[in-house]
């Protein structure tokens, strides 16, 4: 092993940690809506306020997304790897659950807080900024 190997490894890990930190800060406010996309197209939008189970049946397979206490998680999936069931509970604007075999992504959308249904979250300016950025990304991708 040479010195350059170690420099390379450490540089990549530091870049990873910095990106991780930046992404944690970006768009990390509590979300309001769950958006489920299949093949990049919106399958459905569901409020995080209401506890519910969403059955998703597509040509790729079956998934059940569960919303509980303002958090969404993948309860059931018949995909071969089952990784989506282990991605935990999500509730923030920068979090996603991905089921690759079923081409399915569960996203969290942060609504404009100035309408004021979620006062406990405080900093309105930050949420607003995040919102506008949040709008840009999906629109650019959904064909």
């Amino acid at each position: 092993m040479k010195k350059k190997d170690i420099i390379l490894g450490i540089t990549i890990i530091i870049i990873g940690l910095i990106l991780m930190f930046v992404m944690k800060l970006y768009n990390n406010s509590q979300g309001d809506e769950v958006i489920i996309k299949v093949d990049g197209k919106i399958y459905g939008k569901y409020s995080l306020d209401k506890n519910q189970e969403i059955e998703i049946d597509t040509e790729y397979g079956h998934n059940t997304v569960c919303i509980e206490n303002r958090k969404a998680y993948m309860k059931e999936a018949d995909c071969p790897d089952g990784y989506c069931k282990h991605q935990g509970h999500i509730s923030k604007g920068n979090q996603t659950i991905v089921c690759l075999p079923h081409k399915l992504v569960v996203e969290i959308k942060v609504n404009d807080k100035s309408s004021g249904d979620n006062a406990k979250l405080g900093n309105n300016n930050v949420s607003k900024d995040n919102d506008s950025e949040d709008e840009l990304i999906p629109d650019a991708i959904v064909k």
Binding site: D5, G9, Y83, L100, V142
Partner: protein
Amino acid sequence: MSKKVAYCAILIALAMIFSYVEAVIPVNFGIPGIKLGVANIVVVVGLYIIKAREVFVISVIRIILVGILFGNVMSILYSLAGGILSLIVMLLMKKMKGFSIVGVSIAGGVSHNVGQLAVAIAVVENLKLIAYIPVLLIAGAITGFIIGILSSKIVPVMKKEVEKVV
């Protein structure tokens, strides 16, 4: 020629067994979908004992066979993207001065993950997946380091054996 075919076949079989063993007994990194990629030992070691195009053939055939046996069309696509990208990056890294097999393997691990993420983003058509890049970079560097260390122990032994045969 027949010797070449024979040892390529042996290395493909070895890589397939590694893939299979890892599928049965996964090394858990605590993150869904992240694995060590033991089969890549064959590829990394191969870069140092046989010709680049033989490594390429071994890598592609192994991915397709493992995909047919244990995976599906999509898993072949992800593996090919990661496998081919990492092979190209490792060949370039090997040509650069100052890096040993460990550095080459780290670059391979990272580029493997980047290639797979690129395909994943294309498949689900959702750029939000870019959020996975930090964890994939770090995981790629760590798994690449482990594979590189293991490979650095294997290369001297294998080199002697291959020279005897070829």
